[in-house]
């Protein structure tokens, strides 16, 4: 079962990388680029489980390792 975990800095946590990329986009002429944020995408394949179980397992993985809940939020997708 394919699972995708997206980890982003929480709203309100300073994202200097996103800011720098935003500046670079403006330099390139993309003047309508607003609120650029940088995160991580972690894709994995979970063996022998239902979509529901996969979601639950990915949730445990995110809480324990993939995200640092002090500064990051996570979202889980199990593509059908």
């Amino acid at each position: 079962m394919k699972v995708r975990v997206t980890v982003m800095l929480k709203d309100g946590v300073l994202d200097p990388q996103g800011k720098a990329i935003g500046h670079a986009l403006h330099t390139l002429g993309f003047n309508n680029a607003q609120d650029v944020r940088v995160g991580k995408v972690i894709e994995l394949d979970l063996q022998d489980c239902t979509a529901e179980e996969a979601r639950k397992t990915a949730e445990d993985m995110a809480k324990n390792l993939l995200a640092n809940l002090v500064i990051e939020d996570y979202a889980i997708e199990v593509p059908a």
Binding site: V13, L14, P16, Q17, A20, K40, L66, N68, V70, I71
Partner: protein
């Protein structure tokens, strides 16, 4: 004082730390590889600086789940003394032994420079050789040292005197929005924090790199002298 230094793949500041510890104890500290789990008989465990596991995922995230950290957690629960410097501080926050987290430096640059620290609490094993308000020089070298914590955690840390050190000017002025004195942008200029029992201290700068006149000064030595005194007592 029986001290040991934990070495992860990618740790690179363990020898500086060993020099500092040997200088105050007269004995070379034990080096503990990340697979080992035997911490019996130790008074102090040090997590040194470096780039454990290549800083993969987040600085300190992989190290926090290595076998030795299980033993370090047990050591902490028994009241053991732990010092984490730089990557060691990141590992302590990632493993939940200290609150908060370390973000990318506010200006995104890797910083390698001297800074000044103001001692905020002199009633701890790590700071007893100083007096509250003392300022000392120490080198720092990191890309992710921007300390942050949620408002409730911050209030608790400040209220309980668990901020050990703050970044300051050479004259002891603390100003969080001043890049010259708070170079990485840390919340409330926090450079080092303590556990509830004051026996775990994490800090980004490197006091171990100023412990001998040959290094250009002994400004960091009081931390190690104080530790020996506290642990032996």
């Amino acid at each position: 004082m029986k001290a040991a230094i934990v070495v992860f793949p990618g740790t690179n500041r363990e020898r500086d730390m060993a020099l500092a510890l040997k200088r105050v104890t007269g004995v070379a500290p034990r080096m503990i590889w990340h697979h080992e789990t035997d911490l019996d008989g130790l008074d102090l465990v040090v997590l040194p600086g470096g780039f454990s596991y290549g800083d993969y995922l987040r600085c300190g995230a992989m190290a926090a789940h290595s076998p030795v950290m299980g033993a370090v957690r047990t050591f902490a629960a028994k009241g053991g003394h732990i010092l984490g410097v730089c990557n060691g501080f990141q590992i302590l926050t990632e493993s939940g032994l200290l609150p908060g987290a370390l973000l990318r430096n506010a200006d995104l640059r890797f910083l390698s420079q001297d800074c000044y620290l103001r001692v905020e609490n002199d009633q701890t094993p790590f700071t007893s050789r100083w007096t509250k308000g003392d300022v000392f020089r120490t080198p720092l070298a990191h890309g992710d040292g921007n300390y942050t914590a949620d408002p409730a955690t911050l209030e608790r840390l400040e209220g309980e005197g668990r901020v050990a050190f703050r970044y300051a000017s050479a004259t002891g002025q603390v100003k969080a929005d001043d890049v010259a004195s708070n170079p990485n942008g840390s919340l409330n200029s926090i450079a080092g924090v303590l556990s509830e029992n004051n026996r775990i201290c994490g800090m980004m700068p490197h006091p171990e790199d100023l412990v001998d006149p040959l290094m250009g000064g002994e400004d960091g030595l009081p931390l190690f002298e104080g530790l020996v005194e506290a642990v032996v007592r």
